[in-house]
């Protein structure tokens, strides 16, 4: 319990550091947000700019601005988007769930299929299937994720024509809740597949390696010597241990998964955080950009904490040996 509290405290410290870094990076580099805002409303004369600077507090010393930003964030206020004309928190709230849905689906798909492929191939390491999984893993890793997405779109737009290739909902959609859910799922398949394939490749390889190692271990030999069926040995004794590195890597890679999501969202017009970040960079909508950067860091930190919890559930040694985790 104490370690969990310590970890959470540590994570909060990390997030605070992220806020400071992001804010400094964006505010200390060339480019004046006031001119951007002024440009937006169509008047760039010095008087207006000075007025805008005063209004948004941009004329205060940097440290004061940073302090007041952190204060606002602590109260749950991420500022206001000049472009979308909305509070940043509201904007992020709208865009967060599509991203979580996309990344979560891709992650589950990649972990489940990857582990299954890993287990299957580790049991017959010299079979043709096993070797093709190794090759496919390399191939999957080497394909740029946005290119995979584009190829899938070309394929589905011209050959299969059964799945939507863009957006999250049908424009002319009408119907009840159930069919709305179904509509989103149909739109989700291709983007999630694109993002998932990249990680499926890595996880299948990783779980194959760790399964091969586990299958050679003493306790698996003991389990076999006891006369347990192969099924029990593999799925109950070995799998549990073989899955640990996959979970660890999957958790640690959550940030990378978000990066991939950014590209996939762009390719498929998926209305998530990644696209929001991209748009805010192009428009120099700094408060939105800061908000998205913060939100992504929070997502990564939460994913790491969750990994830690799952880790403890799977591996009793960590739970019992607890304190040092």
């Amino acid at each position: 319990m104490r370690t969990v509290v310590a970890k959470i405290a540590q994570s909060l410290g990390l997030i605070l550091a992220v806020i400071v870094l992001n804010f400094s990076m964006i505010h200390l580099t060339p480019g004046d947000p006031a001119t951007v805002i002024a440009g937006e409303s169509g008047a760039g004369d010095p008087e207006t700019i000075a007025q805008i600077r005063a209004e948004y507090g941009l004329d205060r010393p940097f440290v004061v601005q940073l302090g007041s930003y952190i204060g606002d964030v602590l109260q749950g206020d991420l500022g206001f988007s000049f472009f979308f004309d909305k509070p940043v928190t509201e904007l992020i709230g709208e865009r967060l769930w599509p991203t979580v849905l996309l990344v979560g689906t891709a992650l589950v798909f990649a972990v489940v299929l990857g582990v299954l492929a890993g287990v299957f191939t580790a049991r017959r390491p010299e079979s043709a299937v096993s070797h093709s999984v190794t090759v496919l893993a390399l191939v999957g890793y080497s394909m740029p994720v946005f290119w995979t997405g584009i190829l899938l779109i070309i394929l589905f737009a011209s050959v299969f024509e059964i799945l939507p290739i863009s957006g999250m909902r049908d424009v002319q959609f009408e119907g009840g809740t159930m069919s709305a859910v179904f509509d989103v799922i149909r739109h989700l398949i291709l983007p999630a597949l694109t993002l998932g394939l990249l990680y499926l490749a890595q996880y299948s390889r990783l779980s194959r390696a760790s399964m091969l190692e586990v299958l050679e271990s003493d306790y698996v030999r003991t389990a076999r010597a006891k006369g347990l069926s192969e099924r029990v040995v593999v799925y109950k004794h070995a799998l549990r241990n073989a899955v640990i590195p996959v979970v660890t890597i999957a958790g640690l890679q959550f940030g990378a998964l978000l990066s991939g999501a950014l590209l996939v969202e762009t390719v498929f017009n998926w209305p998530g955080l990644g696209r929001l970040a991209f748009d805010s960079i192009l428009r120099r909508d700094t408060s939105v950009l800061l908000g998205v950067l913060l939100m992504s860091a929070v997502l990564v930190v939460v994913a790491n904490l969750l990994t830690d919890v799952v880790y403890r559930l799977i591996d009793p040694r960590i739970r019992v040996g607890g304190a040092r985790g």
């Binding site: 990390l14 010299e126 890793y141 740029p144 390696a209 950014l262 590209l263 960079i281």
Partner: protein
């Protein structure tokens, strides 16, 4: 996707091809080289890479069209009347010329970024692992901090804040991608620093710098070489992603930028995005195959895993 199938046919079952340990003898470096050369997948990787390299260096000498010139009608499919070998894009530019000249920027950025990553990662990891104690704690916290930042997003911000150029993009990738190398280097230094020969070096009066650079570092090289080659691939993918999003110097064509520029029209001209992507894929695949081969060669026990 003919090339994928070719790769499978040519490579055959991976891992099954590595020779038995007993056949290999001699000094460790040469042993590793021999193992590497007997690994057909790894050699295939080298061939792919050399082919890409030759294409980008010597291609322009044999293929006259300039990537930025309009050479024919727009959206000509490969094989159409008067079309260049790989067709033309939505403006009528030669796709093959783009693939040839785009490789130069992609490979250069990948190499520079990988160098940056190795430099930052090794410096921080070696210092943390060698000195231990509070130095280690502080540096590892710092590393964790960088791991929390979503890499692509952070790199996008860096590139957007400064003018996009080959240098800024390489630095941006370097700044976001070093933590894994730092961790690896740290682990190696932690493992090696208490070995007999390091103690011996210290006993005869070698200073910290010389122990780190001349005694420990050479022994920590094998895993670093493996990750450096995988890193080249990762950096290339990263650069492609940034360029695809439009965050690159618009005047220097790279494979990713080509795909980004043709994004709006790829349904009417599949070749204009497929071939640059294929070039990225083949190059990254070559780095992965080489990295894998090196891993097997340095670490025979892990072969095929």
């Amino acid at each position: 996707m003919a090339s994928v199938q070719d790769a499978e046919v040519l490579v055959g079952p991976l891992g099954a091809l590595a020779p038995a340990d007993s056949e290999i003898a001699g000094p460790p470096g040469r042993q590793a080289l021999r193992m590497f050369l007997r690994n057909r997948a790894a050699v295939f990787g080298v061939i792919l890479f050399v082919a890409v390299l030759l294409m980008t260096i010597f291609g322009p000498m044999f293929y006259d069209n300039d990537a930025s010139d309009i050479v024919a009608r727009p959206v000509l499919a490969p094989g159409a009347d008067g079309a260049p070998p790989l067709g033309t894009d939505y403006l009528g530019r030669d796709v093959l010329a783009g693939v040839i000249s785009g490789g130069r920027v992609s490979l250069l950025v990948a190499a520079m970024a990988a160098l940056m990553v190795v430099f930052i990662g090794v410096t921080i990891g070696a210092t943390a692992g060698y000195y231990g104690g509070w130095v280690d704690t502080v540096l590892m916290r710092f590393t964790e901090f960088f791991q929390v930042l979503p890499a692509l997003l952070f790199a996008m911000v860096i590139v957007a804040l400064f003018t996009p150029s080959i240098a800024t993009i390489s630095v941006a990738i370097g700044l976001v991608a070093w933590p894994s190398i730092a961790r690896l280097t740290r682990a190696e230094f932690l493992r090696l620093k208490n070995l007999e020969y390091v103690k011996a070096a210290r006993a005869i009066g070698a200073g910290d710098w010389s122990i780190m650079s001349r005694v420990i570092f050479p022994n920590a090289l094998p895993p670093l070489i493996v990750s450096a080659s995988l890193l080249m691939g990762a950096a290339l993918l990263f650069e492609a992603g940034l360029a695809f999003l439009g965050l690159s110097d618009p005047n220097t064509l790279s494979w990713g930028l080509m795909i980004g520029l043709n994004r709006a029209n790829f349904l009417s001209a599949w070749w204009s995005v497929t071939f640059p992507g294929l070039a990225i894929f083949v190059t990254v695949l070559s780095f992965s195959l080489i990295g894998d081969g090196l891993q097997d060669a340095f670490n025979p026990k892990l072969r095929g895993r």
